[in-house]
Symmetry: C2
Amino acid sequence: MTHSNKTKRVRATTLADVGLAAGVSAMAVSAVLNGALTSSRIAPKTRKRILETAALLNYRANGTARALASRRMHTIGVAGVVDGNGLEFNHYFLEILSGILMTAGRREENTTLFTLHEWSPDPEPIRRFCDGRIDGLILIAPRLTVETGRMFPAYTPFVAVHANCPLPGVINVESDEEDGAYEVTRHLIARGHRDIIHITGPRGLLGAERRIRGFERAIVNAGIHFDSSRLVEASFTTSDGRIAMRQWLKAHVGDRLPQAAFCASDAIAVGCMEALAELGLRVPDDISIAGFDDTFTARTTVPQLTTVRQPLWSMGNRAAEILLDRIEHPERPLTDTPNPVVFPVEVISRASVASPPVAARVVPPQPAAAS
Amino acid sequence: MTHSNKTKRVRATTLADVGLAAGVSAMAVSAVLNGALTSSRIAPKTRKRILETAALLNYRANGTARALASRRMHTIGVAGVVDGNGLEFNHYFLEILSGILMTAGRREENTTLFTLHEWSPDPEPIRRFCDGRIDGLILIAPRLTVETGRMFPAYTPFVAVHANCPLPGVINVESDEEDGAYEVTRHLIARGHRDIIHITGPRGLLGAERRIRGFERAIVNAGIHFDSSRLVEASFTTSDGRIAMRQWLKAHVGDRLPQAAFCASDAIAVGCMEALAELGLRVPDDISIAGFDDTFTARTTVPQLTTVRQPLWSMGNRAAEILLDRIEHPERPLTDTPNPVVFPVEVISRASVASPPVAARVVPPQPAAAS
DNA sequence: CTGAAAGCGCTTACAG
DNA sequence: CTGAAAGCGCTTACAG
């Protein structure tokens, strides 16, 4: 440890220090070092002298002071839930975040992360984030009400990804969820499945409802009877998927297993597969499973998961682009940005979906008695 | 969109605004609202009036101004590589990050992320991060030289996780990598394997070398011949693991497949398994595979991966604790903190390791000719 | 118990 | 081409 043991914090060199040493005003130093937009130009000789003394004194501009004076932080915020209840990773969040970090980095913006344990309708946390340290905020899959949206500070630009409610004054980046649900259900039907259930997201959430609508439409269009017994509610997490599937299995001992289950997220699908495995039921031999999202997870399950691909990384990318554009051009009317921005989705066919078993298998004990 | 279309950015309410409206000084407002440590107490009636007008005017303190005046940002930085070359997620990084976010959140600190595409020995990026917007910085698996470390600003506290070099003035959080490599190699030997290779991290990196040392020691201690042909170099990523294994297989057509491979990271192990699968070789039937890290990945591969568990989440936790303590108590000498902090590791036995095949399988075409 | 002053380190007009 | 002044919105001593 060569550094001084007494960690008396040393003061960083300031503009004034450099100015003093170079024999010019702090302002002149600011002009050459921090590329101020002052119309004036500093003479080559002074410029050189300033640069030298700055290097000598190891000067670096204080970002906070700069931000306060220029009213620009060069930092965007991202708010979302990183960890599904407990330690379970939220891959959905991470892939979007990765896209955001990418374009923010390219545009030389920093990113500060505000992590929530869950989205509550309370707008207070969001308002606390907008305390002058970020230029704008991206909300990832927020659950907020319209009234909540009205309480957002008017001077902060917002972009929301998969907002479950059209927030006033917020640009929304979404994907065509209903279409994805419709297409993946059709995919299951095309493979010969008719007895299909849907493990849904939390009822009431826009994203969950859209998937349910797509599912129902595909079922009905295929001339298959639809009723609510086909819907099993869960949250979007693996642990909830596991619990929901377990409960279903417990309540249906002796019944025929459905031929296929469409899960509202990959995370749910993983939990669902775990619950099936606990009873020795095999995917896709005994039941086909489809997910939604195409996160990293979908490629590492056994078997790999048929799912609906949402371009999460690109959506993060775009969200950051839009936000930065709004920050840089506050004069442009909000209505100049398309809103919402909707990304197309795509069914990715993998090994978790196969043709239905010749004779549908039955869960443990007793004989029949329909669901 | 109910908000004004002309996005003329509205100014946020300031202390002065509130003071004016309440008929007191800005300082009085500051004292009651932002809990300044002023010895003085504001009278209950004034206090109440101030609180009411603040609520009325929707006042929130400007974090930047506050930071500049108090010289405390309440934000820590995290620097590391999020994405292994390209889109591959760095789960190692994410798990540590998650631990950091957790304790930072609990201690009401924000976290700003500085993402690098790779660690170069250039100290410039790090210095740029220390521009007065963070109170301290956590470096994740940095590759820096001692000289580089000397160029760090003396007034910023640093903590490094798995630093590949003892940086001056930096507290290091590590794990017992050599021990982990030793134990997992012994685990392979105990299962009956003798012909074992090690797919290493980048040579020269401390972390990689430590694992090599542990591996070699276990091999030699077991009375097995050791030479450098047992070492296959890769970086820590999946794509590099895939390439390294592919090349090895190509160069050894006709030779006997090793009985086991110990990979220096889970990511490498995944790539290695992919390369084996390309040739129809099965894990663990044809070859046993072990990884290192026990990231999320290890539980989702087929088969699940035997690996060395590093408590990444806890390490992130601790790193944040240490950093925040140093920020809050700059007067405490650096030497008061244990340095390095070393976490124990543990071998996690899963399905990717089994007993060696009775007759070791042979890769495609021609007959023998030893390696 | 409360206020007037100075200052955090920078930038932005405005003069010369 | 360069400098002196004012200000960004807060906090920290220091007076009363």
